[in-house]
Amino acid sequence: KFSFTDPFESCETNAFPPKQSDAAPRYIINLDLPPQERWTKLVTEKKNDVLALIGDIRNLTLSLVGEKVFKVIIDNLDKIATTLPYPFNEEIIGISKASGLNISEATLYNIFYEVFTF
């Protein structure tokens, strides 16, 4: 299904300019707001997309490690959430409230870099 072509075959020369319809939408994050409120508007608007992503990550992790190990991970994520530095901990609480995710899931999403490098 894949074509493992020679990477030197051709350099793209006509991709620019990108289509305006592919541009990511723009939003403002107001740093003057209390951290818990900074993401509320944006996350509420994109709530379904956030839930779909986290749901998939959750199911994937569950299928990989099994239910018992998954519970240990979730319990530890709860611990990690309480020790994250300000204002990020507060922002994650705000994201959790706005999206309906529990704190451990919102934390997993936000520390995914550290988990994934392994």
């Binding site: 299904k1 894949f2 074509s3 493992f4 072509t5 990477p7 030197f8 051709s10 350099c11 793209e12 020369t13 006509n14 991709a15 620019f16 300019p17 990108p18 289509k19 592919d22 541009a23 990511a24 939408p25 723009r26 939003y27 403002i28 994050i29 107001n30 740093l31 003057d32 993401w39 944006l42 996350v43 994109k46 997309d49 956030v50 779909a52 992503l53 998939d56 990550i57 994937l60 530890n76 990690i80 020790t83 994250l84 530095p85 990020f88 922002e91 994650i92 994201i95 999206s99 919102a106 999403y109 936000n110 520390i111 995914f112 870099y113 550290e114 988990v115 994934f116 490098t117 392994f118």
Partner: protein, 256 residues
């Protein structure tokens, strides 16, 4: 991921990047896509971070992810982050955080938020990104505003190595830096070599043609563009502009 910092013949700097994510996280054989990469695309947004009604910096984020992985601070510096894999990586750092309560180390994406909010010069940003103890290894790619201000900061959790623009090294060229997910002083593995085609296409384009157009075209060349690429971003530090576009790599296309 692939990040590029390039300087044209007048010393003007451009910074571009592809954000690739979701390897081995659910392949859809019908659509030939990675599940997580596709789920991330609707969450890509360009953010203006404001204080007192003024924009402090701009970034490209996934909604709900509070850290910074692509950003520009107008007139000061541009920034991108590429993943660096390692056994003494995030997992060990995480265990130290949980078991030994080592809260002095920094989470990579939170450090980058601090850099975007606090650093007032390219040098200050470079120092912060180089000298802070981290939970995980990472590549920081930093572009400045003056000619020659560009660097790849290869980070271990405690140590760092810097490759600077105009200091020709094996992984990049004389007027550009290319970082994928491998150390500059090592040859990328044959099964994931996005650096060689990027370097080849930048050299083919030439410094006299260094521009957002060249960077976007290079970042659109397979396998630099691949099935994991969620967005391409272009940044111009002088103008303070940042753009991000969702990507789709039509078949035939490399899975990573």
């Amino acid at each position: 991921c692939t990040s590029i910092v390039a300087q044209d013949t007048s010393g003007h700097l451009y910074h571009g990047r592809n954000l690739d994510f979701g390897l081995f996280m659910g392949w859809n054989p019908k659509t030939h896509t990675w599940t997580i990469a596709e789920l991330l695309k609707p969450l890509v947004v360009q953010l203006e971070w404001q204080k007192g009604g003024k924009t402090v910096y701009e970034s490209v984020n996934y909604v709900g992810y509070v850290g910074i992985i692509t950003a520009v601070k107008k007139g000061l510096f541009t920034f991108s982050l590429d993943e660096r894999f390692g056994l003494n990586g995030g997992f060990v750092g995480l265990l130290e955080w949980i078991i030994f309560k080592d809260y002095k180390q920094k989470w990579v994406s939170f450090l980058t938020r601090e850099v975007m909010e606090e650093a007032k010069t390219y040098k200050e940003a470079k120092f912060m990104l180089s000298h802070t103890r981290l939970l995980a290894p990472v590549y920081f790619i930093l572009g400045g505003v003056k000619s020659g201000e560009g660097s790849i900061i290869t980070r271990w959790r405690d140590n760092f190595h810097t490759d600077d623009l105009l200091d020709r090294m094996s992984g990049s060229g004389s007027w550009f830096l290319v970082e994928t997910n491998y150390d500059q002083w090592k040859t990328p593995p044959f099964f994931d070599d996005r650096r060689t085609p990027a370097v080849h296409c930048l050299n083919k384009g030439g410094q006299k043609n260094a521009s957002p157009k060249l960077l976007y075209n290079v970042l659109s060349t397979r396998p630099v563009l691949n099935k994991l690429t969620t967005y391409t971003s272009l940044m111009d530090v002088n103008r303070g502009t940042l753009g991000a576009w969702l990507r789709k790599c039509e078949d035939p296309c490399w899975p990573w």
